[in-house]
Structures are given as structure tokens and as C-alpha cells.
Symmetry: D2
Subunit: 385 residues, 4 copies
Amino acid sequence: MTMLKLGMVGGGEGAFIGAVHRIASRIDGKYELVAGALSSTTEKAMRSGKALGIDPERTYSDFKQMATQEAQREDGIDAVAIVTPNHMHFPVAKAFLEAGIHVICDKPMTSSLEDAKQLKDIATKSGVLFVLTHNYTAYPMVRQARQMIHQGDLGELRLIQVEYPQDWMTTDTEHTDNKQAQWRTDPSRSGPAGCLGDIGTHAYNLACFMSQLSLQQVSAELTTFVEGRRLDDNVQAMLRFDNNVKGMLWSSQVAPGNENGLRIRIYGDKGGLEWAQENPNQLFFSPLGQATQLLTRGGNAYIDTGSHLVRTPGGHPEGYLEGFANLYTEAADCISRIKQGDRLEDVLEGSLMPDVNTGLDGLRFISAVIASSEQNGHWVSIKEF
Amino acid sequence: MTMLKLGMVGGGEGAFIGAVHRIASRIDGKYELVAGALSSTTEKAMRSGKALGIDPERTYSDFKQMATQEAQREDGIDAVAIVTPNHMHFPVAKAFLEAGIHVICDKPMTSSLEDAKQLKDIATKSGVLFVLTHNYTAYPMVRQARQMIHQGDLGELRLIQVEYPQDWMTTDTEHTDNKQAQWRTDPSRSGPAGCLGDIGTHAYNLACFMSQLSLQQVSAELTTFVEGRRLDDNVQAMLRFDNNVKGMLWSSQVAPGNENGLRIRIYGDKGGLEWAQENPNQLFFSPLGQATQLLTRGGNAYIDTGSHLVRTPGGHPEGYLEGFANLYTEAADCISRIKQGDRLEDVLEGSLMPDVNTGLDGLRFISAVIASSEQNGHWVSIKEF
Amino acid sequence: MTMLKLGMVGGGEGAFIGAVHRIASRIDGKYELVAGALSSTTEKAMRSGKALGIDPERTYSDFKQMATQEAQREDGIDAVAIVTPNHMHFPVAKAFLEAGIHVICDKPMTSSLEDAKQLKDIATKSGVLFVLTHNYTAYPMVRQARQMIHQGDLGELRLIQVEYPQDWMTTDTEHTDNKQAQWRTDPSRSGPAGCLGDIGTHAYNLACFMSQLSLQQVSAELTTFVEGRRLDDNVQAMLRFDNNVKGMLWSSQVAPGNENGLRIRIYGDKGGLEWAQENPNQLFFSPLGQATQLLTRGGNAYIDTGSHLVRTPGGHPEGYLEGFANLYTEAADCISRIKQGDRLEDVLEGSLMPDVNTGLDGLRFISAVIASSEQNGHWVSIKEF
Amino acid sequence: MTMLKLGMVGGGEGAFIGAVHRIASRIDGKYELVAGALSSTTEKAMRSGKALGIDPERTYSDFKQMATQEAQREDGIDAVAIVTPNHMHFPVAKAFLEAGIHVICDKPMTSSLEDAKQLKDIATKSGVLFVLTHNYTAYPMVRQARQMIHQGDLGELRLIQVEYPQDWMTTDTEHTDNKQAQWRTDPSRSGPAGCLGDIGTHAYNLACFMSQLSLQQVSAELTTFVEGRRLDDNVQAMLRFDNNVKGMLWSSQVAPGNENGLRIRIYGDKGGLEWAQENPNQLFFSPLGQATQLLTRGGNAYIDTGSHLVRTPGGHPEGYLEGFANLYTEAADCISRIKQGDRLEDVLEGSLMPDVNTGLDGLRFISAVIASSEQNGHWVSIKEF
């Protein structure tokens, strides 16, 4: 087992998601971090690189330079993790894809629909791997829920209730020194969506992932509750999926008492499922006319959908970092196979990793929600975008 | 303490809500059931009356006759409980109000908006008490939530998320011998709303009661999932209340795993509250920036909003029947005072009992939701109705 | 349906359990309260009787006089509820039993083992009904648990973990004006057991009721944490039941955060069960090797063990008062049959109501625990008492 | 930042805890695994080493050889992780300690009290670090609980209720091919304690760690429920701590429905705390007379007891592996300081890492419990051992 060489763009001092990606890459021992453009400020880039033990020679402040140089090195990185604010996802991903380096990119894929469409083309042409870290899709019980729905345990689906409330932006957090809040409320760095892009897309993605349904239309109401805030901080939407499945989606960053309350309930004519991110090792299954069952990760009724998903027995809680790691490990396995000569298409067969299509779908959703909200909740077809 | 004399219309053999009203009337020992038109079928009316120990002389099959005769008796009933299917609420209430007999009526108040408007006039002119049993408003922790919001514990309100899922009509229950399902899916008995009228109105009422806000506009999507069903079995709605408060409402009778899942979350700029009917002795309060608190009925942080609301100390669970009984006891106290000569207006000062205005508001809500759904989710103003 | 005539001894102004018994007697409409010796102070007895609408002529201050006179009346009471402090249970029960009046008595049955033994003889000879209100045995899900164990759903039993923590006596509550605390910590009124008698006996009784096992030996540690308190406020015990079943019992009145935390878990070689009083409509069942199931009162997997136990459908929570009422209703059904000429033995066949044997068993348990604790935890056989 | 060099003894193919230690060592990027004696079978050792990317030259089948050779290498390991069955902890730890290599050892420290005493002396003399992975002590909310108790939030402690039920050995698992069950029920590899040593010691350790109290006496009942099993599978104990604090401990491996149910409740005269391992990001705090509070890792009322303990914000669940990693990171920080010349005593000042004293205390507890059980529950003083 040789470790893959990983680079990172973004994720310097004080960043949240960069640290998460680094831990995720380490958990299963499949990557070593050897290069980085952790900040666009040279000094900060060097300081951050040093703190992470990256060779100064491979500590960059210019991601393009990093892409070029790493592509040329004999021992160049196998993959790059992109953990910048949203608006930089596109140019960075483009640079590395075009340099032939596999990309693991945080979500949303880009800050505009146009970028997303372009990136899809670029990625498709590149022939290299593009993984979008919609991490919640890689929790074991989410995978199990998807499998159960797939095999018909709920019968014909009818309803999807998904929500993702948080409370950390209940006041004007962006006017404190909270950098996370600052860029997330800045349209030039975050794109046109606030709460919608940050967490609404996770909720939407989870609904699609579990149900394997596509959204047809959305009727939405975006609100900005905090005075002076430049982007939405609350999203309400009614959803029409394929096959007359109806849904509701609520995401908010101004709901006191909610830390990271992603939660989904799906109902069919033969049963229902409920999963909540804050207690992710549990999945509640209610077969129609029978007692509700508590299914647990690694427990008696666990469906094994991949041995890498469960590192510890039932009752030993795995969480957010392990879910993230599952994607990193799946990517590593693909990359290793590609390095051994397998074709990308073959490697991706059966893969559940979110990709450019997922990313583009997310931007379409963002665009449709914004359009509907601007038209006073008019039902908007996602296909228009 | 003399017990009040109670009559009942509807609630014969096999009925659900009639039995609930009877227990509710007994819990605090303030009523004795002495007359009834429990069924419109004479034989069934007599059999039901006998089973309940009602004097055959005061067992009626014609509610108008009952209203007339009881009004004439020296020992006539003080109040009547109306527990028929929806379409009979109006004529029965009208008869008793016009006979000067106090009315305790199940919800929705009527099966049409027109009837509701008329009934409001009739009740207003009658000078007697009209109580609508929106029982969930009388749970102690619901009253506490209302009080906390009133005193500013949540700051300025922003969001209301309310839901009421059930699962008992996931299949075509109305084609079994389930009488509850039969009349609830029959427009001629239930009115134009199915799930919407049966439980959606409870959810709506709870949101308004707790928040003391009025709805301005609604955008809704009604669905009938079960083939052949004649009324809606799922309600999705986005809500715009006064003061830019936004809401979402979901009610369903086809969501497997949900027995009687009424649940509400309200958020303001200083805190959040969460209450769920199935564990009604608990209320979760999240003051912004502090730990979430578990408030309990009769517990350390309980706010006493009426000594009749708490019969047992914290930890001794009270439930659905006690909530219902709270309304009966409040009505009894009003009726007793009226019998002692107090004026209705004085007796009702400070009362939290749902009344004809509540009932009319419910029918307006039903009408607005139906109108919005028929117009493909167009935002409809409740004032139009 | 004619209502039975009920009398009450104890339960005057400010009492807790008296009010509970009265509500319990009313819920199913089978009793009317017509006589009472609610206090031994004449003035208080009269005031309390008046508040409850009892005829002054049948308001007594002397329970013996009440027993005699009611027995002589044509319209005398059918049954008496005894809700005094513990030390009065014996003389009052004796008086009514000897007067041929059915007795519904709060627990513990007596304040001494000797009294319990005598009372058993008296009750046995009397030929009338004696019901001990171990109310927790009458919750529907407790009955279901017992039935499931009986029918082998857990296989051979191995373990019983039962606990009953409260917190209301964490400080020296008895030195405030709390009357409940005053008599419960006064050996002359409560007997030799504090927390042990008040709630430890409930925990013990529940363990025996559910499992249908008898205790063989106990090793116990009684503690009084609050300085100056005259009786125990914390009970720890290890238990040896029949068939090598092992158990642990903890009850406490000084455990902050616990309101009324009766909770039991029973394990066999094929499954486990868990029930907690504060959410009594739920029962968790874990069949070995399968997912844990959530069973609910009136829900899909509910076992009907008596139609009177469930007044409302699943999801409409019933609680403490309904559990209590179940016993009152069972007693009413027995008394009615006896009045119609049935023999006591026949009437009690299959009855699950706690009786004098249950009461005596509780006192034996109290005695054995005290003995073991006095002998530094030596294992004591309950048969010695 | 240079990574420390880690070796491992035990943890070859099919092992559970070895994989856990490896992940824990990687999460914060402070160790690289460079040497191992993963099995005593040469072939298996080589295969396991290869799978983990360990240089064949540093893949040993003899741990003594490994200790000697690694101590001699310029680039020898800084620390060794011992993850063998219990009986090998002592000889392996001895070998590495005497070679001057820091030791991170799984619990229980040894399989006999004598070994534990010897190891304490050896470790003390060695001058190198010895860490015992009582991992549950390193969960952030456990640390917070300890801190809260320390600062008096509960007042004077009175009660400790600790339990650790599992169900995976409800049947004779050791007669399947389950290697975990095989060695745990084999006295020659596990020592004289089964469930007691495996998980009972965790429960005991957690109680001591949180409360900072020492056990004085124990009265215990060990049971073996599964026929033919050679060691206990159920532990019941009553505990007497310093300062008249009373406790109860239950651990079981035959309680169906329990996966890994470590749970502790501690009560003082001013409040109570409750923590459960399966939902480890929550801690319930009940200040006397106030509402119970839900404290969360990284949440509003979180007490920062070490920045390495929280990798993600509140609501992003961390679990078992992160708790384990916390110990590895604390050990890494100590070792790094020692490498920079700090003295062991200084490095350990304020450390909360379990050490040889903790390990010896655990063996004393095991010995006392066994002794008490053999003496029919006689109270045994832990100081006798």
C-alpha cells in the first residue's frame, strides 16, 4: 500500500473545511499531503504550509503555478483538494483538471451556473476524476437508506421532507471577525446564494441521493432576516419530483437551537424512513402496519453497502469526519486503479461519489430557487437552467 | 359544587371523538351527561344512550327536538357537546345557540366558509358561550410556549415550522369498515377538505395560537396520493404571517411511521421553541447563545398559566385527554359564572378558549389553501375569504 | 349503566394522591363520590367535603363512624378509596373490610409487616375486594411487556434492571411547608422506610409484575443523604429472583434532574425490553439479532390486553391518570359483577389487579431491604419475613 | 511538524482494536506507522505488515526483537502501541519500557494484579511515557463533565450510577469463529475477568475519572449466564467511594438491544449530570431547581478543556475514533516535548491521560470485585489489593 500524494488549495490558517478535508484524507491512511496553495497571500501560505509539514518548495501561493509545477514533477500530486470559498472553485478546478490532476472539490461546485456548465465540459474532457464532497451522501446509514429505497422497502415513493436548520448566523455574524460568515454572505465570494448555497444544496442533494429521483419543479421563498445581510439566510421550498413525488425543503441559518440539523424523512406507500445528521448512526424505518425499527450502523439490520463505510462495530459512533473520509477513500480507490491502468469509466462504474453532474444539478437547483423566489414563488422548472 | 348538565349530539357507538369529549367532561368532575342525540337513527340513539346511562326520556334522535325540549325543561342541559361529522356542526350549533344553550363544538367549526360566517353571526347574537375544541391549545406546555413568546423570550419572531403527519390513511382505509375514514373522505360529510380540514387546521391553529400572529398569505399544494380518494390526503403550504414572519406547514395522513405527529417549532431573533404532541409534557427552549433547556409540565421552569392545567406533579405524564379536559373545565368555569349572573363578555375576558372567530379563521384558512392549490400555488391572501 | 358509589378516606385539602384517585375514579364514568372522611379534623373534613360536592350528612371526620354508617345505609358506598398517610392504611382498611365494603387502597399497604400480615387475613376473611393501587402495573405498555415475557418473546429471563429516581427531596424539603415531604419522612406516619417505601416498592413491584418472578434474596444499602432526615432517601439493591435471574434496583429522591423516573429493562436469552414511565406510551423491544422495535400503545404492534386500557388511538398520549383509572375500572367491573351475584373468586380469575398478597410482598421486601442494609449488605432471604 | 514514528504490537488481520489505534494515530497527523509485530505468526505478521505499508525489514514476529532493534535504530520508533490480547500487555510493555520506548497500551493494563504492580514499578523506573487507552476519558463532554464537577457545579457529590451493557455475547459467541469472543472468554489470554475486565473496567474508570473520587469498597455479584462460558458475562456491583459517595455499576455482555451502552449519571446536592457514549456529543446538566440543560460539544455552553478535543463545530458529530485520537494526540504532544528535552514530570503536569496508576487501579478493582463475588457479596476494601 503506497499512499497517494495530495495537494490542497485553500484551507490555510483559520479555515474550517480545509482542516476537515485533511483529517478525512488521513483517516484511512490513503493520502499524504505534500503540496499546497493554502492561501493566496504568500506569507500566510508559507506559514500554513509549514504548520502542516509541507515542503516549502511545494508550498505555493498561486494555484496555477501549483497545477503546472505539480503536473511536471515526477513525484507530483495525484489529486488536489479544493477548499477555497465558492467563487474560486471554478478557476482552481479548471487549472488542475486541465493539468491532468484528479480533483476533490468542496461544494457548491461553482458560484455560478455558467461556471458549472463549463466545468462539466472541462471535467468530462479532462479524463480525470472529479469528486464533489457532498459528504452527507457517504454516511453509512444514508447509503443504507438509499439501498432500502432502491430495493423497494418503501414501495412507491410519495413524499420527501428535508430540512437543514442552523443558528450560527441568527445575528449579523458577518460583522464580527468570523471569516466563515464573512465570505458566505459576500456575493462576490459565495455567489448569489447564501444559506441556499451553503446548506440548502446539501439538503437538496441528500433528497435526490437517497430517493434517486430528479427534481422537476420548485416553488420557493428566500428570505433575509438579518438586517443588512446581502444574501438569503432562510430557504423555504415546495418540490415536485419525478413520479408525482412531492417534497418540502427548509434550510435556515437563523433558527436558534439548531446546530447542524440536516434531517430527512421519506415516505412511500409501504413505509417511511427518517435520518438525522446529528445522530447519524441511527436510521428509523417504519414498514407500513408494523412497529418502527431502529436500524444502526454496523448493527443487526445493517445493510453492508461497502466495507470501508464501517470502521467500528455498532454502538461505537462514527460521525462527520468518517463520513467525509468515506468519500476520500472511495476517491483513493479509484485513483489507485487509474494509476494501475484502469479506465476512468470502468473505475466509476457503480460509484456513488458525487461528480460534476451532481455539481451542475446543485447549481441548477440554486438558479431555479432564486428564479422562483424572484417570481413570488411561481413554480419553476429546473430544466430551464 | 354542583355539576353542570351536559348534552351531546353525535358520538354514538363506534365514534372516536364523542368518547373523548365524554372523558374530558368527566375528568375534573364538572359535568354530568344527562341528555343526548347520539345518533340520527332512533334505535342506535337509544342503544347508545342506554349504554351511557342517559334517561331514555332525554335520549333523542332529532337534535332540534332535543334543543327545544331541553331548553324548556327546568332541569335542562347547561351545555351541549357537538361531536358529529363536520357537515352537521352548523345546523346543530345553530339549533342550540338559538335555544340559548351553551355550545362546545368539535373542529372544524363547519364544513363550509359560508356556514362559518353565518354561525359567527348567530353565536354573536345568541349571547351564549361557543367553544371550539382546538384541544391542542390547552396543553400546559403549549400555553407556556404562548406565554414565553408573549413575554418576549424569543425576541422578534421570524419563523414558524409546523407539521402534523399521520399514517392511518396510507392505503384506501375508507374502503374498509373504518367509519372514521369513511366520513372524513366524503365531501358531503367532511366538506371540501380532507387531511386539510381534519388535521391541517389543527396545525394552522396551533401556529396562530402560540405565536399570536395572523396569517396574511398562503401558497399551497394539496395532493391526493391514494387512488380513488375524493379529498386531499397531504397538505404542503408556505405561509406569510404578520410582521414578515415566514412559515411552513405540512400535514399528511399517508406518512408511514407517524401516529399523531403534531409538532411545532418557532424561532425569533433571541431564541427558539419546540413542542411535539406525542411527548406533550416537554418543551424545548433554546435561548440564543445558550444551552437548550428542557422545560417540563409542572417542572422547575414551568410557568403557571392556570392551576387547572396541571393535575399531577412533573414527571407524571398528562396527555391528550387532560388537554381536552382543560377546555371543558374552562368552559365549565365560564358557564358557572354566567349562571351566577356574570355577563358573557366579562366571563370571557382573558379567556384562551377557541371560539367562533377561531372557527371562522380556520375555514378561511381552508378556503385559502384550496384556492391557492387550485391556482397552482399562487399566493392567496386569507383576507379575500 | 349505574355508577358505583365511592367513599374516600384521606385526601382532603392539599393532598396529592387523593385528587389523583378522584380523577381516576371519574375518567371512565363508573363511580360517583358520595361520602368521605377526608380529614380527621372536623372542620377541614367538612370544608373538603363541601368542595367536592359531598352531602354534609355523609361527610365524616371519623373513618370508623363512616364505615359503620355507610354499611348500614340503603344507599351506602360500594367501595372506599384509602388515600391517607401510610400508617392509617391498616386501621382504615380493617374497618371497611370488616364492614363488608370493598377497599381500594394506596400503597404501601401498611406501615409495618405485622399490619400487612394481619390485613391479609382480614381481607381474606372479609370476602370483599381489596385492591392495592400499584398504578404502574396498569399502564397498557406494562401489561404488554408482561404478556410478551409470558409468551416467551424474551426467552429465558436473565436480568432485571429497575430504577426509580426523583429529585424533589434533594434538600430538606420536609422542613418547608411541603406536607408530602413531612409525612413521608416521619417514621410514625410513613413507617420505617422513606424512599424505599414511597417509590422503591413501586420499582420492586413493577419488576415482579412484568417478569412474574418472585424475589429470593436481596443485598441492599440504604442511605440518608440529607442531614437530619429521619428515613432513607436512597436505595441501592442487588436482587436474586427465581430461576437465577439477577437484578439491580435503584431508587432515590435526591437525584437532581429526575422528576419521576421509573424505568425498567428486562433481558432474556432471546431479547430485551425497556419501558420508562415518563414516556409510557412507548415500549422498546429488542429481539436478539434484530433491530430494536418501538412498540406503542394502540399502535401497529400493540397487543390488546384489555379494551379498557386504550381510550385513544396511538399517538394520542395517555398517562399517569389513565393508568390509575385502569385499576379503578377493573375494580368497578369486579364490584359490579359481585353486586350481580358473582363470587369474588370467579370475579378475580385472571385479574391483574394488585391485591393483599402484592401488598404483603411489598412489606416483606421493605423488611428484607432494611434487614440487609442493617447487616451491611448481607444477602437476606425474603422468605424470612 | 515532523511526524512521530509509531510501532505496533498485535493488531494483525481480523483484529478490531488494532485498526482503531491505527486510525486514532492518523487522525491528527502526528504519527506514522513504521514498524510492527502484528502477529506472533511470522507469515501473518508479514502479510499484515505489507497490507499496512510497513517496511518488511521492520516487520517483526517477535516483539522482543522489535523492541531491541527499534531501540538501536537511528530512525527507531518513538512509541509503540500495544493492542494484543490482555495477557501479552505485560511482557510487551515491559520489553519496550525497558528499551526506553514510549508505550501506548490498551486496557486492561495486564491480566493479573501482580503483573500490574510490577509494570507500575517498571514504568516508573523507565522514565518513559506509559499511556493506557481508557479512551472514553478523552471524549470532550466527558472532560467537560469532569471539569464541571471539579468546579462545583454539582455541589457535594452523592451518587454515581454507571453502566455498560452490550449484547454481542448473549449466546455462546466464543464457539463461533469470532476471535474477539474467543480470547475474551479464555482465562489464559484474558485473565480472570470476562465482561468485568473487558468493559466493567471502562465503567469503573469513567466513574473515577469524572468524579475524581477513589473507590473504598465494593460489594459485587458476578454471573456467567451462557452455559459453558469460562468467565463472567454480567457484573453487578454496589460501590462506596470517598466522602460517603455511593454508586452502582452494571456491566453486561448479554443484554439484547445494547450495542455499546456505556452511560453515567452523577448526582450531587446541587445538580446532576448524564452522559451516554452512544450519543457522546451531548451532556445533560440538571442544576437543582432549574431546567435540565443540553450541553453539546462545541456548542454554546461548551467548556473548552483543550483545543485538540474539538475538530469540528457543534452539530458535526465526533465519535469513538476521535475520542481515541484525543489520547494519541496528547501522547504525541508529550513525546514531542520530551524529544525536545523536557522532563517527563513536567510534560505530564496537568495531563489527564490514564497511566500506570490508572492501570493498577483497574486491576485492583477487578481483584476486589472477584473477591467480593467469591465471598457472596461481602464488602471488600480495594486497599486490600
